[in-house]
Amino acid sequence: MTVKEIFTSMDYGPAPESAAEALAWLVDMGDRFGHFIDGAFTPPGETFDSRNPATGEVLAQVTQATQADVDAAVAAARRAQPKWQALGGHGRARILYAIARLMQKQSRLFAVLESLDNGKPIRESRDIDVPLAQRHFYYHAGMAQLMEVELPDRQALGVCGQIVPWNFPLLMLAWKIAPALAMGNTVVLKPAEYTSLTALLFADICRQSGVPKGVVNIVTGDGRVGEMIVNAPVDKIAFTGSTAVGRRIREATAGSGKALTLELGGKSPYIVFDDADIDSAVEGLVDAIWFNQGQVCCAGSRLLVQEGIAERFHAKLRARMDGLRIGDPLDKCIDVGAIVDPKQLARITALVDGNKEGEVYRAATPVPQGCFYPPTLITGLSTASPLMQEEIFGPVLVSTTFRTPAEAVEIANNTRYGLAASVWSENINLALDIAPKLAAGVVWVNGTNMFDAAAGFGGVRESGFGREGGWEGLTAYTRPRGAAKALKPVAPFEGNGAPADPLDRTAKLYIGGKQARPDGGYSRPVHGPRGALLGHVSLANRKDVRNAVEAANAARGWGRTTGHLRGQILYYMAENLSARAPEFAARLDAMTGNRKGKAEVEASIRRLFTYAAWADKYDGAVHNVPIRGVALAMHEPVGTVAALCPDEAPLLGFVSVMAPLMAMGNRAVLVASEPFPLAATDLIQVLETSDVPAGVVNILTGSHAELAPTLARHLDIDAVWSFSSTDLSGTIEKAAAGNLKRAWVNHARARDWSGPAGEGRPFLEAATEVKNIWIPYGE
């Protein structure tokens, strides 16, 4: 076209970013890559093609790792770890800073390579992925620097196996490697097989930034290599990817003692109230679902619009979609690039074509031949429609309407996932009321897809567990200092002695604020060390679990009470326990045969005070994110938490588990010490006289081994803890894969319940979820 013709048409025309430097780097590296192990690239082995999805061209050959490769990488990481940790926070900070600086110097190379490999528009890799990845290293250089002073009780986990997805190859690498290295861990990371190249460029950067050999190891290959890493002798697995694979990893690592964080799928709601800035909410959707071709775990993929504005909103949205430019990812004037692989394209196509409901609108914009999918909107879907529930992982937005704020929350939470959510309203009361009610780890008010190293990111429900970023993300890469002793099984005493008290007393279960007989109708005798019959205790079965969980879930209101109120109730419990201290002490002495009952009761009263104190003091944070606005890291109750209480400290252990859960607003289903259950059942009367609302604490007695699988598999329990002396850690972790509930288990390690390890922040962290609510402001 001539200038004059363009003057009339006012078309954009091509604006290509050059791929020359990135292609030259590939040539320099021989176009064939081995792994990066122990500070050097290995010779290429059996390789596979790494393709540019936009053109189908082969970019390079990448090696499929063997078991020997993974073993070598893990061994290198293991060797390097002690020295890396001993280098100290400042030493590590210098190296992380060097990585950040070098990434910055090569930022265009990273961006172009990422777009070539992944198909995402150069604007995104250049303006979002790469700067955020650099920011992660800068931020965590600071965390390394501050570790010794700010986290004196924490130490590195050791070797971390990390598996990242193809949608943000470099950014996810940064999210994994930066905190791990900062805290003194070494890593073995596997990029996704579609997108290995920026990880290999990063390896090259590591060589240049003085990262000691073995600290960062990159192995490439498909899911089989991921499996090898999961099964390797590492101390932690961090995975970002699909919920299905996450579930398998949960099962595979169960009982191994490996720490685990999972950042999985989502179907995040994007809620638009009728008082929103509609044009901005429409534009927000471009960043929500057409960012990275919708291949974003936290994509705002489920549009919920208030009914009165739905028609107008959808009309504006369709017009906006028509303006999206789809095509060559390296064109600087492109909004939507290529789908990562033809397989994914086929999957998206099949999902949309399989839908027979609602109205499908495809953007009226030219779509190039090849691995591209047009921006798509499906309106008029019911909540029951599969596309409202299933993650499409493509540029496809589904939409439905709601009538009231309460209904918006109900529909938003009507999902197995819980990663992110957006709320659009110009009414601060409404927005700040809705945000905490959404089942999500991240909520954006009048915005979407905002990320920063300073704010934690991660989900609830089947979107996984753990947070990445911020102070809260460091928990996932550290553990308490010191080694715990082994926990020996505690067996109940047996005997056939006469009852100590001639008046028969059967301890019942405590469910929904009422003492309940066990469903099965069985009890067992509890004997003292010399065989005296101390009483009978109910044997709970799966039906009792069901009832207890229902009662707990009916007591949701507890989570909305004030910390002040919960504190008052915990103080009151301490008061009532104190009034009966001699009785409890005598009971403990009778059950255990030692004379430590008095001390245990005193410690229990003190512990109740501790959590009464914490109830209104475990503050969230306002993260220092680079926007005009705030990111509020709010502590929310986990929900309904089931716990197998310690056997060896029948009262103090029980209180140590119950009190933090109560203080943070959770509902608890607690299984009492198996050998010494009567301290917990005696506590029922204390609960009954202390204004504890029905259902907040439910007490079961019986066999830990029998109850654990039912609790861990229950899909309406949000977390399960085990401090049982029966080692059920593997069973629980495996069964918890069902709804990917958080599991906190002891791996047969003892805890000193009377010491500092028996209380404090680890319990509060386990009893809360961190929800990051981003609130940009400004008029």
Partner: protein, 335 residues
């Protein structure tokens, strides 16, 4: 496209300046306060859109040259200084007729390109009209007690009539900011309505002085009220406020224009003024107009830049495009 017409200045010549298709003029509508009250503008979200647009849109090579020429055709070449003289205004008008060196325009295949209009104070209107005679380039006059708009109301109305009588075909009026700041939409509407009546066949651009309105929400509401009252164009600034045209303000105002068009079918024009001095900025503005309002608004009958130094930077970029060598300002005729 705008080329020098061969007829002399006349109402027909004025029409020739406008694109081929005549749009119906905005006759306005009754003040709809419910609509005004329902208008929302989320500043942070608008700023994000404005901040990311330059990274999303890029025009290169011939496309960039064509877009820059388009920008020139949409410039209201402006001088609004206390020391303006007939000589100064004549020089500006000459530049308006020949904004880019003829050899460059020839090599770009765009001979005869002119700017959109020349914008002056009332006293300079006759000089400008005379200097532009035969060019088809309209003269715009700032009016109604520009820039503060606080002279006596009858005088402000009378000033419009005087400028139209002197040959101005476009009148850039200033609104009473106090009506926006006190949310007296009725008063704003009435004022605008009467000014609209006073321009007759001339076109009226309503200057909101957005830098003095306090919030984007009120910018959006004031935009809407002015359109309801019949403004042909809405314009950001006088150029005399501390903050003049910005991308967030532009986004807010053109979204109001889009809503007005959706509701009434009438296209109202947009003029950012003040602070746009770089060719690169002009491209971003054009991209924003194209993406948010559509191609139809990329014509001088619906879009103008109020600018004085923008042209110089565009000239240098165009010479660079043609020769491949970076240019110098002194190589281009001053205006």
């Amino acid at each position: 496209m705008q080329t020098a017409p061969d007829s002399t200045a006349s109402p027909t010549a004025a029409a020739a300046h406008l694109p081929q298709v005549h749009l119906p003029r905005n006759e306005g509508m009754p003040l709809d306060l419910d609509w005004v009250a329902g208008v929302q503008a989320n500043t942070s979200a608008i700023e994000r859109r404005a901040a990311t647009l330059p990274g999303r849109r890029s025009v290169k090579k011939d496309y960039q040259a064509a877009w820059l020429l388009k920008a020139i055709s949409c410039i209201d070449l402006t001088t609004l200084s206390g020391d303006d003289t007939p000589g100064r205004v004549r020089r500006l008008c000459a530049k308006a007729r020949q904004p880019v060196a003829p050899d460059l325009l020839d090599r770009l295949g765009m001979p005869g390109l002119t700017v959109g209009a020349v914008c002056v104070y009332h006293e300079m209107v006759p000089t400008a009209v005379q200097a532009l005679e035969g060019s088809g380039i309209p003269v715009a006059a700032v009016s109604t007690g520009f820039p503060a708009g606080l002279s006596p109301w009858p005088l402000r109305l009378a000033e419009i009539g005087e400028s139209v009588a002197a040959g101005a075909r476009e009148i850039d009026i200033v609104i009473s900011r106090r009506h926006v700041l006190t949310r007296n939409w009725q008063a704003l509407y009435d004022e605008m309505r009467q000014m609209r009546a006073a321009v007759g066949d001339a076109h009226i651009k309503a200057i909101l002085a957005t830098g003095e309105l306090g919030s984007l929400r009120d910018v959006a509401r004031a935009s809407l009220v002015c359109m309801m009252a019949g403004a042909d164009f809405i314009k950001t600034s006088t150029g005399k406020e501390a903050v003049n045209a910005t991308l967030p303000v532009t986004l807010t105002m053109i979204r109001a224009i889009r809503d007005y068009h959706e509701r009434t079918g009438i296209r109202v024009g947009y003029k950012p003024a003040g602070g746009i001095s770089k060719a690169k900025d002009a491209l971003v503005y054009l991209a924003m107009i194209k993406d948010e309002l559509g191609d139809r608004w990329l014509q001088p009958d619906l879009f103008r830049f109020g600018a004085s130094s923008l042209l110089g930077d565009i000239e240098r970029q165009l010479e660079h495009h043609v020769t491949g060598a970076y240019s110098a300002s002194w190589r281009h005729a001053m205006g």
